[in-house]
């Protein structure tokens, strides 16, 4: 074997004292790692196929299995890491661009982890969310500039179209096709039960999910898959996807093998054909083109639906956001460089874009400096991992957050980052019938509801600690944040003080 031989990254450790040869692992593994050797009456494993999705470990009835990162190592080198070298071997033998999925796993700084929250002591009381009302309801969309009243003091102004959310967390765009039907169903039902929204992604909306429309954001992406009048009217808001944090500047590609009858029908394309979204919208080469699309979508929906424009966090995000705020859009969604994806070129995923924390801080401040912050709401995503990240994002200036990866984890995803292969053992990122069945939508729904409920309670607790009893009073309240271990410049961009100041 030549350089294309790579020692398996993971080793399957099977405790043969415990193994009862039930062959569950074999049936559970879509990658074909485990097999039964009848001759020796023993379970064996082809470790070269293992992606460490932890499915077998979880399902093994006798806890006989664990997956361990191999100790086999190249000569350590701080510049040439083993995976760097291996990637070169791969490319040298295949000539292809590397593909991967989920979010950027590299060791870039996480600003969330360097921001700390405040709490009340002595000079003002903290508020106990178990005793006092604690409000997390938010409205996304434009705010009226002036309210008008008639001569009797009755309001005549109407609110512009908005999205009403019971908590500042929504499920971000993940398409049917990239995700299984059961995953989509779980997201739709949980969003409805919790009074928030999920997002169709660019894959259209299957008829069976139309009843969840009031809690659905329908996306219009560059491929325009599944976009038609009823679709636009089915949701509570329309999102124009200009970019995505995991692959800014890049389109999408759903391979034909994932396009079964239902996905084909929903996307309005032939079964088995590749669904390719171009990198740009071919009718949007500039900001004024975006404005036209915003208004055509509004026109198509009688100005009843707020329009979201989603962009990836890139270097001049603040200026772009300011343009979007003036384009007629009601909400801007910014996706950080850690955002997940079903498939992206590895180099793009790992090297393009900027952290969402910095992008958010810059955008919020820029919109305020230009006095247009009330014309648009800000939603951020791209690695919101916990309720604490949500609270920090809101205090930096976000109106709400999108969660994608966190929601999938609640559905069972173990972040093996192999979604692009379509063999998800957890029934999430796959269209294979037998694998899809592994995700029970009732249980999936319940897990998502539990997650949102837990986060909402934690958000309330943190707010109460700060003496804040309404999320509006947290929004943009940067005085509640302090940085640790940051440079002057980082603090300046985030608009926060260092701990101890």
């Amino acid at each position: 074997m030549g350089i294309e031989y790579l020692y398996p990254e993971f080793e399957v450790h099977r405790n043969f004292d415990r193994c009862i040869k039930c062959r569950v692992c074999e049936r559970q593994c879509s990658e074909g790692v485990h097999f039964y050797d009848a001759e020796d009456d023993i379970m064996r494993a082809d470790e070269s196929k293992c992606v460490d999705c932890q499915r077998c470990v979880t399902m093994c009835p006798t806890r006989a299995l664990k997956i361990v990162k191999t100790e086999n190592t190249f000569r350590p080198n701080h510049n040439w890491h083993q995976d760097t070298i291996e990637e070169i071997y791969r490319q040298a033998t295949s000539g292809g661009a590397l593909l991967s999925s989920m979010g950027n796993p590299k060791d870039y700084p996480s600003y969330w982890d360097r921001i700390l929250l405040n709490a009340s002591q002595v000079t003002n009381p903290s508020i106990d969310p178990l005793r006092e009302p604690m409000e997390t309801k938010v409205f996304l969309g434009k705010k009226p500039h002036d309210l008008e009243f008639d001569s009797h003091g009755e309001v005549i102004s109407k609110l512009p179209p908005q999205i009403e959310l019971e908590l500042p967390v929504m499920f971000s765009a993940m398409s049917f096709g990239a995700l299984s039907e059961n995953a989509h169903k779980s997201l739709a039902r949980a969003a409805t039960a919790c009074g928030t929204c999920y997002n169709t992604g660019e894959g259209g909306l299957n008829k069976s999910l139309y009843p969840y429309g009031p809690n659905t954001i329908v996306q219009v992406a560059s491929g325009r898959f599944g976009v038609h009048e009823d679709y636009l009217k089915a949701g509570c808001a329309i999102e124009i996807k200009m970019g995505q944090g995991a692959k800014p500047g890049i389109g999408g590609h759903l391979p034909g093998r994932k396009i079964g009858p239902k996905v084909a029908e929903t996307r309005m394309i032939p079964e088995g054909s590749d669904a390719i979204s171009p990198a740009p919208h071919h009718d949007i080469y500039s900001i004024e083109d975006l404005r036209q699309l915003v208004y055509s979508l509004k026109e198509a929906t009688n100005y009843e639906k707020p329009v979201i424009v989603k962009i990836a966090a890139v270097h001049n995000v603040a200026a772009i956001a300011s343009g979007i705020a003036r384009s007629g859009a009601d909400i801007i969604a910014i996706d950080g460089f850690r955002g997940g994806t079903g498939a992206a070129p590895t180099r793009i995923r790992d090297n393009v874009g900027i952290p969402i924390e910095l992008a958010l801080a810059a955008v919020d401040q820029r919109l305020r400096d230009e006095k247009i912050r009330n014309d648009i709401s800000i939603v951020v995503g791209g690695s919101i991992r916990s309720s604490a990240d949500v609270v920090k994002a809101i205090a930096l200036g976000a109106d709400a957050c999108y969660i994608g990866t966190a929601a999938l984890i609640a559905l069972g995803c173990h972040l093996c980052r192999q979604c692009q292969r379509g063999l998800c053992n957890w029934g999430i990122a796959t269209q294979r019938e037998d694998l899809c069945r592994r995700l029970n939508p009732d249980i999936g729904t319940e897990h998502l509801i539990n997650l949102l409920t837990a986060w909402n309670n934690e958000i309330k607790e943190m707010m109460g600690g700060m003496g804040i009893n309404s999320i509006e009073a947290l929004r943009g309240n940067r005085l509640m944040l302090r940085g640790v271990g940051m440079t002057e410049k980082e603090l300046e961009i985030l608009g926060i003080k260092h701990a101890g100041e």
Binding site: T123, N124, P125, P133, K143, V155, L159, N469, L479
Partner: protein, 367 residues
């Protein structure tokens, strides 16, 4: 070196008191409000006291009364040069004070009664609203003239404040020489020692003055919102931002005080859901539109304005505040004792609920 107010945010606890005569008669002598706030001595710590009196300048009722702190002569000269350019200065003098051994390090304190000179202003600024010009003047002097600070800028009203216990400050300014139809007072308990007179309260802009007890947890959300509309929160105090919010909603947006109270101490959504439809619709619109002006955390405020005052608690009522009325005079204070001290036989003192404003208007007839 300790940082001055405005360079650092200093939380403080406080005492507040307010009296208003509904008839609009200038029946309340400065001594009365000093007696009232003095009872709550322990709610202050000697690091700030102040008063706002309404109706105190009947002879100059139509001129803006600027009260100014100066650090030195240079600041005064520079300010006066600026005032001379745009205003007809009807009267100027040092504000009369009497030495009080507990009040030290007083700055130079001057008072100007001024009328804007419109042709001059228009030459430089084009068409401009009179009140906006006054506000701009205050911001200009306070931001750009080193050592000058205009702390009172309304008509027929004035602020008197400084570092010390409120009763000493009242004595220092000889408040017994002033009669008003409305007074508010403040005793401060900051958790830090700024020792700067400008940072004391009441805080005022035009006719609005605010005394406040509490520490608002929504501060930075409120500040960053209001700064979009041309306000500069230089002092980083709650009182400053509350004053600007009230000025914005009243002067720029034209709301009445009832609506202002509903915006800054908005009812909870669950209460709104229980309201009759029409009211709920209006409330929803107000709360939605001005969501960033919701003030959370403990506060009790008394906001004085031309011929009236509004007292308001945060919606959870996390700070004490009581009110009572006798013979057309309404009393409001952090503690009942502060009312009883000046009106011993008052009946029916009550504690207004959180978020429920007390708005009292004084008649304009008497003036």
């Amino acid at each position: 070196m300790l940082k001055k107010e405005g360079e650092i945010r200093i939380p403080s606890g406080c005492a507040i008191s307010g009296i208003i005569d509904r008839t609009g008669r200038r029946s309340i002598n400065g001594r009365t409000i000093v007696d009232s706030i003095a009872v709550m001595h322990d709610r202050s710590n000697g690091l700030g006291g102040g008063f706002a009196g309404y109706g105190i300048y009947p002879d100059y009722a139509d001129s803006y009364a600027f009260h100014v702190f100066y650090d030195d002569l240079k600041a005064r000269q520079e300010t006066e040069r600026y005032l001379d350019r745009y205003f007809d200065v009807v009267n100027m003098s040092r504000i009369p004070v009497r030495p009080n051994r507990n009040v030290v390090d007083a700055p130079l304190i001057w008072r100007y009664f001024v009328n804007p000179l419109f042709n001059r202003i228009q030459e430089d600024r084009g068409e401009i609203d009179e009140k906006k010009f006054i506000v701009d003047t205050v911001f200009y002097v306070n931001t750009y003239i080193d050592g000058a600070y205009i702390f009172s800028s309304g008509k027929n009203m004035g602020i008197f404040k400084g570092v010390g216990y409120p009763e000493d400050i009242g004595d220092f300014y000889k408040l017994e020489d002033y009669d008003a139809y409305c007074w508010t007072a403040h005793g401060r308990y900051p958790t830090n020692t700024p020792g700067w007179w400008g940072g004391c309260h009441p805080f005022a802009l035009l006719d609005h003055s605010v005394v406040h007890n509490g520490e608002i947890s929504s501060y930075d959300a409120n500040r960053r919102y209001i700064e979009m509309f041309g306000y500069k929160c230089n002092l980083l105090t709650d009182t400053e931002v509350i004053t600007y919010i009230i000025d914005y909603l009243k002067r720029k947006k034209g709301f009445d005080y009832e609506d202002i109270a509903k915006i800054i101490a908005a009812p909870f959504w669950e209460e709104i859901d229980r309201m009759p439809e029409k009211e709920a619709r209006k409330m929803k619109l107000l709360r939605n539109t001005y969501s960033s002006l919701l003030i959370t955390g403990p506060f009790s405020i008394i906001c004085g304005f031309d011929h009236g005052l509004m007292a308001l608690n945060d919606r959870l009522k996390l700070r004490s505040m009581v009110a009572g009325e006798k013979d057309e005079v309404v009393y409001i204070a952090s503690e009942e004792a502060a009312i009883r001290r000046i009106c011993p036989d008052i009946d029916g003192i009550w504690a207004p609920r959180g978020g429920e404003p007390i708005i009292v208007h004084a008649s304009k007839e008497a003036m």
